[in-house]
């Protein structure tokens, strides 16, 4: 009863923990300084530590994060100032100029950048070769214009055009394939839009791979792995939920009136094709899951990060020495008829459990163990137990007779066959619990992807 209550409260606890984590993260984000400021301060610390080149690299990256021109001017001025101090005058001149270009009118930064520019030694003129025409002065592109481009037809426009072209292409193919049926038009538009949208989503990476050498950062790998994990978890959650619904909604059928297809039957499982016997205890069963473990002492090597040396330690643990899972075909008798149950591919839920400690039957395992002790757990369905089977029912003629043979087997369409001993709720709750856990994991992974996208460089920083 207590374990049922605990199990029921697990989803609620998970949701509460996630909600608390999200809430505390949101609060931290709200109170934290903006990202560019944090990076700016980090660059300053690195500079103070004497790593000048790394500090300049961080500043360059910070420039991308700057939200407005004031921030950009501040970063450009700092870059120019540090380059000036390092004696890189041409770089310093360039960055002072950038600062002057973006700094707001009348700001203190303009005055300081102008002073910095004036304090730089004049650039050395390139020596003119005798007999050559002096080069024509070309005005460099204005930085402000480069940083803040005028509205133009960018990648979004290109993506929209490609998507439209794909949409019409798919639509044309589908119209042709369906023989230009009028009533299929709406579904064809939707399917074309789905395919065109998916195709357009795949284009940016293909474009990046074609146009330039694709150098995927740790962020990219992590986001990709999380996306795949998220999609996988959500897909399996959906499947688990669907199967749960199927099992729940399948009504109980009598074998006498059963027809071909997926159904649920309850009856006595009679042995007809032999029995399995457990290795420990010699328990006869139609289904057997036996696991034997021995308590052992092991010496392990491990790396001690404090002393930076490999060390050894002794550990005690249970190690599996024997494991066996199998079921045999049996005959189900529900009082109205008999059917052969082919258990290949079936999922079993036995109710009977036998425990053995040092090959002696016990009611529960002791808390303390000695080296060399063996514990065995046998889960099984005994012969003539009452079982519920969800499976595909079919019948075929017995050769040479007028009788039909009834059989229950794995359903390939629903990808499901369950043999249950005991309460049906066990099957439903296991499906619901698995589905919920997978769904939560999928959502968390999707949030992780979002987090990486909103915080570029977070994985690399964490790895550092």
């Amino acid at each position: 009863m207590l374990s049922e209550a605990m199990r029921a409260s697990v989803p609620a606890v998970i949701v509460m923990v996630v909600a608390c984590a999200v809430s505390s993260y949101a609060q931290r984000q709200a109170s934290a300084p903006p990202k560019w400021k944090q990076e700016f301060q980090r660059a300053r610390q690195v500079w103070d530590n004497g790593e000048s080149d790394r500090a300049l690299r961080i500043l360059e990256k910070t420039l991308v994060l700057a939200p407005d021109n004031t921030a950009r001017a501040q970063i450009a001025f700092r870059y120019a100032d540090w380059s000036h101090q390092l004696g890189r005058y041409s770089t310093a001149r360039q960055w002072y100029q950038k600062c002057l270009d973006v700094a707001p009118e009348g700001s203190d930064l303009i005055r300081r950048a102008t002073a910095g520019l004036k304090s730089l030694p004049p650039p050395a003129p390139a020596p003119a070769l005798p007999g050559t025409v002096p080069p024509v002065a070309v005005t460099p592109p204005h930085w402000r214009q480069v940083r803040e481009p005028a509205p133009e037809r960018g990648p979004v426009y290109a993506a929209a055009v490609v998507m439209l072209v794909m949409l019409f292409g798919f639509l044309l193919v589908l119209r042709w394939a369906s023989g230009w049926r009028k009533e299929a038009f709406f579904a064809q538009v939707l399917l074309s839009a789905l395919l065109a949208g998916a195709g357009t989503m795949m284009l940016p990476l293909a474009w990046l791979a074609l146009v330039q050498e694709l150098n995927i950062q740790p962020d990219g790998w992590m986001a990709g792995a999380l996306t795949l994990g998220s999609v996988g978890c959500l897909a399996f959650a959906a499947r688990s939920w669907q199967q749960g619904q199927l099992l729940r909604s399948t009504p109980l059928t009598r074998l006498r009136s059963a027809s071909h297809g997926f159904l649920k039957v309850r009856g006595v499982a009679e042995p007809a094709f032999g029995l399995l016997n457990s290795r420990v205890g010699d328990i006869p069963a139609l289904y057997l899951h036996e696991v034997s473990e021995r308590y052992v002492r092991r010496t392990e090597s491990y790396y001690d990060s404090q002393s930076k040396r490999w060390k050894t330690r002794t550990v005690y643990r249970w190690e599996t020495i024997y494991s066996f899972v199998q079921g045999v075909n049996f005959i189900m008798d529900d009082g109205t008829g008999k059917a052969i149950v082919e258990v290949q591919g079936a999922e079993f839920h036995p109710q009977h459990v036998a425990l053995f400690y040092n090959y002696t039957p016990v009611r529960s395992f002791p808390w303390f163990a000695s080296v060399g002790d063996v514990r065995t757990r046998v889960s099984y369905i005994p012969p003539n137990a009452t079982v519920t089977v969800w499976a595909r029912y079919y019948e075929h003629d017995l050769p040479g007779t007028t009788r039909d043979e009834m059989r229950l087997q794995y359903d390939r369409f629903h990808r499901c066959m369950v043999v249950l001993e005991g309460q049906e709720s066990k099957v439903y709750s296991s499906r619901t619990g698995t589905g919920l856990a997978l769904a939560v994991m999928g959502v968390l992974m999707a949030l992780g992807v979002l987090f990486i996208l909103l915080n570029p460089g977070i994985v690399a920083t964490f790895a550092e």
């Binding site: 009533e183 195709g199 990219g220 996306t227």
Partner: protein, 187 residues
């Protein structure tokens, strides 16, 4: 650049999954449709065997059951309907009516003692019963395959694929309206 490539990777995976989803739905639909068509072909073979048997049966009973001419004429009409049916639904309706009428003919043996003594009639009666049993078994298999196909093509995204390309619902063998009527018993 880092953010752009990360976003591109995420979009690529999501887009790829969507495309694979649609392709998988299409392949499953083709597979289920193939199973349903194979099941129908098996039913069709048995139905043809029955049609081959019917002319002999009609010829045999014609001489004995003069008053049942209407039934025999109706079977001839239904043969034309079934063999010239444009769609499966029409064919199924015709075949079900034939099943019902043949059931009546088999019972005539009780009403016409001379017919019951006819060796040929008895042989045809036995053969017809075997074929009817085969048809019943194959009909169940067809109903299962057709139901799987019909249900799957109503799920997402298979519904888009199915509606875009075929949009056909496999008809099932169901009880005819006459068979649903409660029989009147008089003592």
């Amino acid at each position: 650049m880092g953010t752009v490539s990360t976003l591109a990777i995420v979009l690529f995976i999501v887009g790829g999954v969507l495309v694979i989803w649609v392709i998988a739905a299409y392949n499953t639909l083709v597979n289920l449709r193939g199973q349903a068509q194979r099941a129908w072909a098996n039913v069709d073979v048995a139905l043809k065997q029955r049609w081959d048997l019917i002319p002999n049966l009609v010829e045999t009973v014609k001489g004995y059951a003069q008053h049942e001419k209407q039934v025999l004429d109706r079977i001839a009409e239904l043969r034309a309907v079934a063999l010239g049916a444009k769609d499966r639904k029409q064919r199924i309706q015709a075949e079900q009516e034939v099943t019902r009428l043949l059931g009546n003919i088999i019972v005539w043996g009780e009403n016409y003692p001379a017919l019951k003594a006819n060796e040929n009639f008895l042989h045809l009666q036995r053969t017809l019963a075997d074929i009817e049993e085969q048809i019943a078994d194959r009909r169940e298999l067809y109903n299962e395959a057709a139901t799987n196909y019909n249900v799957y093509q109503k799920t997402f995204p298979a519904v888009l694929v199915a509606q875009s390309v075929w949009a056909e619902e496999m008809p099932l063998f169901e009880a005819a309206p006459q068979e649903r009527e409660v029989p009147k018993v008089q003592f």
